[in-house]
């Protein structure tokens, strides 16, 4: 077992955990966190793959940076939707 494989498996495990959370959980903020954990899992797979060559693969690193920005953008939007949605439910009661 190499370090690359170790982190590949770890990434996959995180991804599965996140997926499980996304499907099983209901509280919006928790689901958003689940998606983020899923994302971390994929990124870990990608970074581990980048580690295969002697010099780490810059392409994968760049893709992960892009992925991180996408993740924060979506998270910000999702959180705001979740919070505003909850409040509107509260208003109705």
């Amino acid at each position: 077992m190499t370090q690359v494989l170790f982190y590949l498996i770890l990434g996959v495990a995180l991804w599965v955990l996140g997926l499980h959370g996304l499907i099983r959980l209901h509280q919006p903020i928790r689901r958003i966190i689940s998606v983020n954990i899923m994302g971390s899992g994929v990124f870990m797979v990608m970074v581990a793959l980048a580690r295969r060559s002697e010099d780490p693969d810059p392409v994968m690193h760049a893709l992960v940076v892009t992925g991180l920005v996408v993740a924060i953008s979506a998270t910000a939007f999702a959180l705001r939707l979740a919070v505003t949605g909850q409040r509107s439910e509260e208003d109705r009661e």
Partner: protein, 474 residues
């Protein structure tokens, strides 16, 4: 390629310009939409006369660059996107009931168009991920325009869309890990049907199916599409779900190893049949008008999925034409249907199907548009839906071992007839008509009619269209 780039950049610049000037000018968007349409048409002419083109972004060589690929289908989709966007923009600018006029609808819809065009042009697995995210965010933002009641469905849509992207992305990562490339054409030369490839393709397929609301991953769609503002529902159903479908098609028809495609095809086709039946069943049952239209999207995507699955299973490029005819016909018909449904429910002041009693008398044009569009969804001749169904039926009936699939189409047709005429029959009820709250807006009704007429008008150009599609798809 310049024309295609123009079709890509004009909407993006329009969106930025609108934001910069804090403008919510519908006419400006209509004007730039026209320009986009012109550019897209030009691209279509270019690709028809001088064949497919490709562009390495940044002028970098093969494995490094992101590549734009302008195929005939791409050009057609560019035109189609521009057309629907223009139509909906006119509606949004003009309709009295459209609540999106004074919102960020304008820049958002331009960004949506831009991201779709980026998706059609791209042929890079990771770039598709970014365009999918762009598309998803734009779509959710547009759904949320409808106000607080839409936030719940919008959030669900967003989360599932994000989850789906990450499922897709894991597939991409596995592909990169296995073959070290992201460009789909390069990938096509290398793929083998081993375990990694299989899992990677399945992951990408699942993610895309969720994004395209293909059965059984469609549960988010009806609520999201039904709660969006009318103009947005039309855009979402007609265009957005087609984006992931396009990627799915390119993946399986270009990059996937043949054994894998043959093996996976039946699963997709069965999912398609299930979508037709169960989506149609839900459309038959729902008490809400827009939900009915949204469920019909789920059902109709079943046809496309079926075409794709059988295309993979039988390795029949002829089914490409069926798939894209479905996409075109459904897009036009659905745009018409959502606009008509939105107008009807706004004018009647009720979202229930049962409120449509007597609408053939009070709002004949809108109801007629709904019925005509519905006719194409059922696949009545000589509408575009009929042409697509015919193209799908032909290879099925051609060989006796394919006959069982016909049952799916048969039932699907009957169910779609069921939910379309459920509405239409009610509209003829003169016993107790629901009086409209406002004077009907005839211009908007005719606008809703327009795409429905276009989809029936496809019959006039059917022969060249089919020949072009059959020859055009690689």
């Amino acid at each position: 390629m310049t024309a295609a780039l123009a079709a890509l950049l004009i909407p993006l610049f329009t969106a930025l310009g609108l934001l910069l000037l804090r403008s919510r000018s519908g006419p400006l968007v209509i004007l730039t939409s026209l320009a986009t349409l012109a550019a897209a048409c030009w691209a279509l002419v270019e690709v028809t006369t001088s064949g497919p083109q490709s562009l390495h972004l940044g002028d970098w060589p093969e494995p490094l660059a992101i590549r734009f690929q302008l195929q005939p289908i791409t050009a057609l989709l560019l035109v189609f996107t521009a057309l629907i966007h223009l139509l909906v923009a006119v509606y949004a600018a003009r309709s009295r009931h459209c609540r999106t006029r004074d919102t960020d609808y304008w820049p958002l819809s331009c960004l949506l168009q831009g991201s779709l065009n980026a998706l059609w042009l791209s042929s890079d697995l990771f770039n598709w991920y970014v365009t999918l995210e762009l598309l998803g965010l734009a779509a959710v933002a547009l759904v949320a325009l409808s106000g607080r009641k839409a936030y719940g469905p919008a959030l669900n849509y967003l989360l599932l869309s994000l989850g789906a992207s990450l499922v897709y992305l894991l597939g991409v990562a596995l592909i990169y890990g296995r073959y070290g490339v992201l460009d789909i054409t390069l990938l096509a030369t290398q793929t083998e049907a081993d375990q990694s490839t299989r899992v990677a393709f399945w992951l990408m397929t699942l993610g895309l199916m969720l994004k395209a609301a293909l059965w059984p991953l469609h549960l988010w769609l009806p609520k999201a599409h039904a709660s969006a503002p009318t103009a947005v529902s039309a855009l979402l159903s007609a265009l957005v779900v087609k984006g992931p479908l396009f990627i799915l098609w390119r993946l399986w028809s270009e990059a996937a190893p043949v054994e894998l495609a043959i093996e996976t095809g039946p699963l997709l086709a069965i999912a398609g049949v299930a979508a037709l039946l169960l989506g149609g069943w839900s459309a038959l049952r729902t008490p809400w008008l827009k939900s009915l239209v949204a469920y019909s999207t789920v059902a109709q995507l079943g046809y496309a999925l079926m075409a794709l699955g059988l295309l993979m299973h039988w390795q029949l490029p002829a089914l490409d034409a069926a798939l894209w005819l479905f996409v075109l016909a459904h897009g036009l018909a659905k745009a018409s249907m959502f606009l008509a449904a939105g107008e009807l429910q706004a004018t009647l002041g009720s979202k229930r199907v049962s409120a449509l009693r007597g609408t053939t008398e009070t709002m004949p044009v809108a109801m007629f548009a709904f019925a005509v569009a519905g006719g194409s969804l059922i696949g009545l001749p000589p509408s575009g839906g009929f042409l697509a169904k015919w193209m799908l039926l032909e290879p099925m009936l051609g060989q006796s071992e394919h006959w069982p699939w016909v049952a799916g189409i048969l039932l699907g047709t009957l169910i779609s007839a069921g939910y379309v005429f459920r509405v239409v029959a009610l509209a003829f009820d003169r016993a107790d008509p629901v009086p409209p709250d406002f004077k009907p807006d005839r211009f908007a009704h005719w606008l809703a009619m327009l795409p429905a007429l276009v989809v029936w008008g496809l019959a006039l150009v059917s022969q060249p269209l089919i020949a072009w599609l059959t020859g055009a798809t690689p």
